[in-house]
């Protein structure tokens, strides 16, 4: 483990930014935080988390996939893929780090998504242990420890210092470039910090939320639960929950006619939208109830069924904070499944 005084944090940032594009949470004019590219003078935010999740770095909201032109009877394809630049995402919370595992299983399973893989290969994740979890946090429900975030490098912040521990080859290589700014240390201060965080975790209102009653094999039992009517009744179908969610992974592929060619691009889609998975025969989910159910069944039943029991929610709380009607996965989990009546 290595440490550095927080007074020297800008030197750390400058050193990282010398070799790679560095992104970190920054306070915005509206009072919330967002990942921004670091440059001299950028101030690192103290916010617990960003409104948009860091999945944007690997799976951006829109990206062009290819271009083509038709000339007479021939179609000319242009491969527009380029090698991604090297980048470092700094200050990723434990829940969001876990979301990369969930996305990896979707995008890196053969045949791997080369766009995603390209960015994943060139990105280094420096995580950060939480110090002030809030009432909407429930990462523990999914076995995530906010005091021990994963990532290529894990970091802990105390009043005066920042501590780093490399977990992967990529992380070791990055930490090595910071050797002059950091010093070797024992893990006493970090252990103390972990204990503090875990004490706060015990105070969180959602600490007892359990996944019992969910998981693979529960489709028959939960699909027709009568509670879906009431749960989905006020849903606007806006898709805010899916766009702020670090694990939502659905996209649409579309063609944009430029007038003298076609750009094929993809953009995030949302199961909450009326044309989601629309196909030649029409749409297979005609009501908002069915669309709403899809979001939660996917996270709590279908995904774990196909991924060794791994749930595709990390308890980040973004959908709790941002849904215009305050309907969310916690309310769903408390209405159906094993938390009933709690």
């Amino acid at each position: 483990m290595r440490k550095c005084s927080l007074e020297k944090i800008n030197e750390i940032f400058a050193a990282i930014a010398k070799n790679a594009a560095l992104y970190l949470p920054v306070d915005r004019t509206d009072g919330s935080a967002a990942y921004k590219k670091w440059e001299e003078g950028t101030v690192w935010s103290n916010a617990l988390n960003t409104v948009r999740s860091p999945k944007d770095f690997f799976f951006p909201q829109t990206e062009d996939l290819m271009r083509f032109k038709t000339k007479g009877k021939t179609v000319q394809l242009e491969d527009i893929r380029t090698e991604a630049e090297a980048f470092v995402v700094f200050g990723v919370r434990a829940c969001d780090v876990k979301s990369f595992d969930i996305l990896d299983r979707v995008f890196l399973t053969e045949p791997a998504d080369s766009f995603y893989a390209n960015r994943r290969n060139h990105g280094v994740i420096v995580s950060l242990a939480c110090t002030r979890p809030v009432e909407t946090c429930f990462c523990k429900t999914f076995g995530i420890d906010p005091s021990a975030p994963a990532g290529d490098i894990s970091a802990w912040k105390t009043e005066s210092d920042i501590f780093f521990e490399a977990n992967t080859e990529k992380g070791k290589a990055l930490l090595h470039t910071l050797s002059e700014l950091t010093e070797e240390c024992d893990d006493g201060a970090v252990a103390e910090q972990k204990a503090k965080i875990n004490a706060v975790m015990e105070k969180l209102p959602l600490k007892d939320l359990s996944t019992k009653g969910f998981g693979g094999g529960k489709t028959a039992e939960l699909f027709d639960a009568p509670e879906w009517d009431e749960l989905s009744s006020a849903c606007l179908g806006c898709g805010t929950c899916t766009f702020v969610c670090p694990t939502c992974q659905c996209y649409d592929i579309k063609d944009f006619n430029t007038g003298n060619g076609v750009i094929r691009f993809r953009c995030w889609d949302s199961c909450m939208y009326s044309d989601f998975t629309k196909m030649a025969h029409g749409n297979n989910r005609l009501t908002q109830k069915e669309r709403f159910r899809q979001r939660f069944m996917h996270k709590l039943v279908y995904y774990p069924e196909n991924n060794d029991g791994l749930f595709s929610c990390v308890g980040c709380g973004r959908c709790l904070a941002k849904c215009p009607i305050s309907m969310n996965i916690v309310k769903v989990m408390k209405k159906i499944g094993g938390n009933k009546g709690e």
Binding site: R28, T29, D30, G31, S32, A34, L48, V51, R52, Q61, T62, R132, P133, V134, E135, V200, K203, L204, P205, L206, E230, S233, A234, L236, G237, C238, G239, T240, F243, V244, D252, F256, F265, C267, W268, D269, S270, Y273, S274, D275, K278, L320, K322, P324, I325, S326, M327, V330, K331, K334
Partner: protein, 332 residues
């Protein structure tokens, strides 16, 4: 604190349910915390007792729900309307968006609703509980040992600070005391933007709209946006788009939407309330309202059912396009 209490509202709703006036109640459902209420349908006194809340966080405007919920209700639907909600109610009736016969509207007074992000800015994150106590909110958090007392007036939502009316323009029955139309300062911020140079104004909107994630919450919550299928959602429209391809397109979406609701927007403020990125969308709509007032005389959408909005009503006194054009020049 609200002048009308949860208990009074439950008593009223239970009475109307039991005497058969209504078969269902559209109200605020209890959340996980003290501030996250969900619009909910209640069918019995027991359900109301278990799940109905009314507090300083009941900002959601129910009028739009009448479009989908009133059509489905077996009998009449009881809806509680705050003064500002009644304007949306009338506007929807003007546009024939729901059947008035299927709705029983009870007007309730409103002291202004709190904005949870303003509360958190003062108390700090990690809310454990929030309770109203007279003119204050008493907040306990996970991090402070002592409760924090915040004056409710310091954390009111923007639209409530600039409330345009405490008077109900539609109801079957009124609870509590009726208020007055207010002289609000709601156009001050628009005037400040108008006074900017074109470049400054562009930079202002660039900063605000660049945050948009195109979730469409603003549109989906808007009582003036009730098209059954928005062109932007319709794969056959040729202009469907699920996400901003670039910042220019993003601005266009919001400007097109503002044009579409011009003259129909009641300034209810739902768009800004629901935006996850805190974009002050109400300022775009207020600009249109202010211009309409200045060009065609004072007009408040939703004040009366069936009123002719200036933009769809030709009169010989209408100003000439050239005058608008000249004004644009002066603003450049």
């Amino acid at each position: 604190m609200q002048k009308i209490t949860r208990e009074q509202l439950i008593a009223k709703a239970s009475e109307l349910l039991s005497n058969g006036t209504v078969s269902q109640v559209l109200g605020w459902g209890k959340g996980e915390f003290d501030y996250d209420v969900t619009p909910t349908l209640f069918s019995s006194a027991e359900e109301l007792e278990n799940g109905f809340v009314f507090n300083d966080f009941c900002g959601a405007n129910f009028s739009k729900y009448l479009v989908s919920k009133a059509a489905k209700a077996d009998g009449k639907l009881l809806v509680f309307l705050k003064p500002c909600d009644t304007y949306s109610f009338n506007q929807l009736l003007t546009e024939h968006r729901f059947d008035r016969e299927k709705v029983y509207a009870v007007g309730i007074p409103c002291e202004g609703m709190a904005d949870i992000s303003k509360v958190k800015a003062i108390s700090g994150d990690g809310i454990a509980s929030i309770n109203a106590d007279g003119d204050n909110l008493v907040v306990t958090t996970l991090y402070e040992d002592a409760p924090i007392t915040i004056a409710t007036k310091d954390v009111l939502a923007e639209r409530c600070i600039n409330c345009k009316s405490k008077k109900h323009v539609a109801y079957d029955e009124l609870m509590g005391e009726e208020g007055e139309v207010l002289a609000s300062n709601r156009f001050d911020e628009v005037a400040r933007l108008e006074a900017m140079t074109a470049d400054e104004r562009f930079a202002f909107w660039q900063n605000e709209l660049s945050r948009c994630i195109r979730c469409n919450a603003c549109r989906d919550a808007c009582p003036a946006c009730t098209c059954e299928k928005c062109v932007f959602d319709n794969p056959n429209s040729g202009v469907e788009n699920k996400s901003p391809a670039n910042e220019f397109e993003e601005k266009l979406f919001h400007i097109i939407r503002a044009y579409h609701v011009a003259g129909r927007c009641t300034d209810c403020g739902e768009c800004s309330r629901v935006c996850p990125q805190n974009i002050p969308l109400h300022l775009l709509n207020r600009k249109f309202i202010k211009d309409i007032n200045e060009f065609y005389g004072e007009y408040q959408a939703g004040e009366e059912v069936d009123s002719r909005a200036p933009l769809v009503n030709y009169t010989t006194e209408d100003l000439e396009p050239g005058e608008v054009f000249d004004r644009g020049d002066n603003n450049a």
